[in-house]
C-alpha cells in the first residue's frame, strides 16, 4: 500500500465537530464510526450509547479524546511512523569527497551521548558543502553491541575486532589507527576528550601523526581563511581560557559541548568497510586485568551500585551484612546520618553527595525532595518501604512493599544461593 495518506481537512473537521449535521456520515466514511455512539431512534429522538464513546488508553483507562487525533485521518498522518517520531530521511553518500574519521568511546559497547554529539560534529564537518559531501567513518574496537550506527550518522563502519586490540592495548590501537590513516587518509580525526579512551587515544594519535590537536574543543565555526575551512574554540589552562585557533586535523571534543547536535533527521548507510591489514605492534604495556575493589572504599559520588539506608531500617547489622553480600557501596538518608547510624560522608542528597549510581536501592527511605535531588542521575532506582504511597515509590523503577529487615534478609539468602549455584557450575565444568 502506498505510504502517502491523502487527507481531507474538511472531513476531518466534520469528524471532530459532533454538532455538524454530517458528523455521523463522515465518521462512518472514515471508518471510525463502526459502532456509532449516537443515532436517531425510531421516533426521532437521539439515542446515545455512552460506552461506545472514546477508546481504551494505554493504561487500560477509557479516554475520550476531542482533539481529533483519534478520529479522522490524524492517526496515520503522512510521515508518521506510528510512534510519534517523524520518519528520517535516508542519505547515501556513494563517492565521498573526503572522509571524517570518528573513534567513539563505546563504553559498554554502546554509543554514549558524548559519542552521538561527536558524530553530530562529524556530520557538520562532512555536510558543510552540499556539492561535495564527505563521509563519516566510525572506527570501532571490538565487537559493538550498538545497532544504531546508521541513525547516529555513520556512513562507513570499520570494525577492528582482534584479540590483541582487546582490553587496554593503547599501542596496538595506535598502530591500527595509523594503518587506517595510511589506507584511508581521512581529512579530520575526531575523538571524545574523555579521561581514558578518546582523550588518551587522541593524544597518542596526534603525537604519532605529528599534529597539534585541538584538545578540549567545544565550538567550531566555518572560516574560509583557514587550512581546513573551520575555526575552533577550545578550553585551555584547566578550563579558564578559551583558545581560538584554526581547526587542526585531529580534534578532541568535550562532553556536552555545543559543537553540534546529535543526528536526528537522517539515517545513513553505516556500510561496513574492510579493515586494513594491521601491522604487528610490539607492546610494552601489559594488561593484567581488573582488580577487585572494596565497594566500601569507593567514593559515594563515583559508586556504581548503592544500597542506601533510611529511617526505616531497624536492624542495622542486617543492613551492613546485606551491603557486603551484594557488594554494594553504602549510602544513607540524612535522618540515618543524624541519628548516628551512618557516617556523614555517606549521606546522599542535597546537603550530602549527588550520586551517579547506575542502580540505587533505597531501603526505608521516604523520598523527601532533598533526598531525591541527590539521586536525579541514577538510572535504576529500587525502593523497599512499608508505605506504598511515599514519594520514593513514585520515583522507583521497582518498588517492593514490605518490612526492610525481612526483605534484606531474603535478598542475602537469594544472592548467596545464586553464588553457590554458580560455584557449583564452575566446579562441575
Amino acid at each position: 500500500m502506498s505510504e502517502i495518506v491523502r487527507r481531507d481537512p474538511r472531513k476531518e473537521w466534520i469528524a471532530r465537530n459532533r454538532l455538524h449535521p454530517e458528523h455521523l456520515d463522515v465518521l462512518a466514511e472514515l471508518g471510525e464510526g463502526a459502532a456509532p455512539s449516537e443515532w436517531p431512534g425510531p421516533n426521532g429522538r437521539i439515542r446515545r450509547d455512552p460506552h461506545a464513546v472514546g477508546f481504551t488508553g494505554p493504561n487500560g483507562i477509557k479516554r475520550i479524546d476531542r482533539s481529533g487525533v483519534q478520529q479522522g485521518a490524524g492517526r496515520s498522518s503522512a510521515g508518521d511512523r506510528g510512534d510519534g517520531q517523524p520518519a528520517r530521511q535516508r542519505v547515501e553518500i556513494e563517492s565521498p569527497a573526503f572522509l571524517v574519521a570518528v573513534v567513539p568511546d563505546l563504553a559498554g559497547g554502546r554509543l554514549s551521548s558524548h559519542d552521538r554529539d561527536l558524530l553530530g560534529l562529524a556530520r557538520r564537518l562532512a555536510d558543510a558543502d552540499p556539492q561535495a559531501p564527505g563521509a563519516v567513518v566510525a572506527i570501532v574496537f571490538g565487537e559493538a553491541r550498538e545497532s544504531g550506527f546508521a541513525e547516529a550518522g555513520v556512513d562507513r563502519l570499520v570494525t577492528l575486532d582482534e584479540p590483541r586490540l582487546a582490553g587496554y592495548a593503547p599501542e596496538a590501537r595506535i598502530a591500527a589507527l595509523s594503518a587506517i590513516e595510511e589506507s584511508l587518509s581521512p581529512r579530520h580525526w575526531l575523538l571524545p576528550d574523555s579521561a581514558l579512551g578518546g582523550g588518551e587515544l587522541g593524544r597518542r594519535l596526534a603525537a604519532r601523526l605529528g599534529e597539534r590537536p585541538a584538545a578540549g574543543l567545544w565550538q567550531i565555526e566555518p572560516d574560509a581563511g583557514s587550512a581546513l575551512g573551520w575555526h575552533a574554540t577550545c578550553r585551555g589552562a584547566a578550563g579558564s581560557l578559551d583558545i581560538r585557533r584554526d581547526l587542526p586535523r585531529v580534534a578532541l571534543a568535550l562532553a556536552l559541548a555545543e559543537c553540534a547536535e546529535p543526528v536526528s533527521e537522517t539515517v545513513h548507510a553505516a556500510r561496513p568497510l574492510a579493515p586494513p591489514a594491521l601491522p604487528e605492534a610490539f607492546s610494552r604495556v601489559e594488561d593484567l586485568g581488573a582488580v577487585a575493589v572494596d565497594p566500601a572504599s569507593v567514593a559515594l559520588g563515583e559508586a556504581e551500585f548503592i544500597l542506601a539506608a533510611g529511617n526505616g531500617i531497624r536492624d542495622w547489622e542486617g543492613y551492613h551484612r546485606a551491603a557486603t553480600a551484594l557488594g554494594a557501596t553504602e549510602g544513607a538518608s540524612r535522618v540515618a546520618v543524624d541519628d548516628g547510624f551512618m557516617p556523614r560522608d555517606r549521606q546522599v542528597g542535597a546537603t550530602g553527595t549527588w550520586v551517579t549510581a547506575r542502580v540505587y536501592v533505597a531501603v526505608g527511605i521516604s523520598g523527601a525532595i532533598q533526598h531525591l535531588q541527590g539521586i536525579q542521575r541514577c538510572d535504576k532506582v529500587v525502593a523497599v518501604n512499608v508505605d506504598p504511597g511515599c514519594d520514593m515509590i513514585k520515583r522507583a523503577d521497582l518498588a517492593v512493599i514490605g518490612d526492610s529487615a525481612a526483605i534484606l534478609e531474603a535478598l542475602v539468602t537469594r544472592v548467596e544461593q545464586a553464588r553457590q549455584e554458580d560455584g557449583g557450575k564452575r566446579d562441575a565444568a
Binding site: Q85, S240, K394, A396, I407
Partner: protein
C-alpha cells in the same frame, strides 16, 4: 625523616618528576600544580628511588614561589631549565632527558596554565620512544626492567598494568593527595638553573586567548509531528511513574524481583 634524595644507594631507581606552575582556580594565584604535586607524592612513595624534580620555563618571582612549594615536600634542589616566556619547552625538556635519562618519568596529566592540552607527556614519550600510561592510582612494585601499577578507571575501579622501563606515567586526581609543603625546606631548597636555548612557540602566537566564556546550555528540543505531541512533551512530568510496584508480596518474592533486576543490570559480583 632523612629523605630518599639524600640516599645515594647503588641500584636505586632514577625517577624524574616534571613539575609546572599551577594556578588556583578561584583566586588565580600561582601555586604548585595539584596533579604535579600528586606526581611528586607518588615518586616519594617509592622505596629506593632517587627523585629529581625538573621544571622548564621562565624564571620569575611569581613562578619561584610556586616551585618552592615542591621543594617544601622534602627536596634540596630542583633543576630549572631556563626558557624564554614564549618558548615551547618540549625541545629543551627532550634534550635534558636524553642527556641524563631517568628510568621513570612522572608528571601531571594537564598543566593548569598555558595551553593545558595535556599533550606534552605524549610528545615526550613519542620522541624518547618510551611507553606511556595515564591515570596512575598507585605504583605497586618496581623491578629492574618493569614497573607494576594500578590505573584508575571511572567509578573507582582499578586495573593492574605492567610496564617496561624506561617509561612515562601521568598522574591525575585519582592518585593520593600530596603532602603539605613545609616552609623551611621550601626556603632552603636550591633552584639549580641550567640555561638552554629556547625555541619560541610560533603556533601559540597565532592563536587568540581569552578568558573562558560560559558554554551555552543545550536546550531540550522536542521533535514532534503535531502540536499535540509538542504540548504533551512540554507538559510531561519529569518523573513519570511507570515503575513496577509489588504489594502483598512475601519477602522472598520481593527479594527475587530485586535480585532479577540487579542481575539484569550486571552489578552483582560473582
Amino acid at each position: 625523616m632523612p629523605h630518599e634524595t639524600t640516599k645515594n644507594a647503588a641500584g636505586a631507581l632514577d625517577v624524574a618528576v616534571l613539575v609546572s606552575i599551577g594556578r588556583h582556580p578561584v583566586t588565580g594565584r600561582t601555586r604548585r600544580a595539584d596533579q604535579d604535586a600528586r606526581a611528586v607524592e607518588a615518586a616519594l612513595a617509592l622505596d629506593h628511588a632517587r627523585v629529581q624534580l625538573i621544571h622548564a620555563g621562565h624564571h620569575e618571582t611569581d613562578s619561584e614561589a610556586a616551585l618552592r612549594g615542591y621543594l617544601g615536600m622534602g627536596f634540596e634542589a630542583l633543576t630549572l631549565i631556563e626558557q624564554a616566556g614564549d618558548a615551547d619547552v618540549l625541545p629543551a625538556l627532550t634534550d635534558a632527558l636524553r642527556e641524563a635519562p631517568p628510568r621513570l618519568l612522572l608528571c601531571g596529566t594537564r598543566a593548569e596554565t598555558g595551553e593545558g592540552s595535556g599533550l606534552l607527556p605524549y610528545l615526550l614519550a613519542e620522541s624518547l620512544g618510551w611507553p606511556i600510561v595515564t591515570g596512575l592510582a598507585e605504583i605497586e612494585r618496581v623491578e629492574p626492567e618493569h614497573v607494576t601499577l594500578l590505573q584508575a578507571l571511572p567509578r573507582g575501579q582499578r586495573r593492574r598494568l605492567r610496564l617496561r622501563l624506561p617509561a612515562v606515567i601521568t598522574v591525575d586526581e585519582a592518585a593520593p593527595a600530596p603532602r603539605q609543603s613545609a616552609f623551611g625546606p621550601a626556603r632552603r631548597g636550591a633552584l639549580a638553573v641550567s640555561e638552554q636555548a629556547s625555541r619560541p612557540d610560533t603556533a601559540l602566537a597565532d592563536w587568540t586567548l581569552e578568558p573562558a566564556r560560559p558554554r551555552p546550555k543545550r536546550l531540550k528540543v522536542v521533535k514532534a509531528a503535531s502540536a499535540r505531541d509538542r504540548f504533551k512533551a512540554a507538559a510531561a512530568k519529569a518523573e513519570g511513574g511507570g515503575g513496577q510496584v509489588l504489594t502483598d508480596a512475601t519477602p522472598e518474592q520481593g527479594a527475587e524481583a530485586i535480585f532479577k533486576l540487579l542481575h539484569e543490570e550486571g552489578v552483582l559480583r560473582r
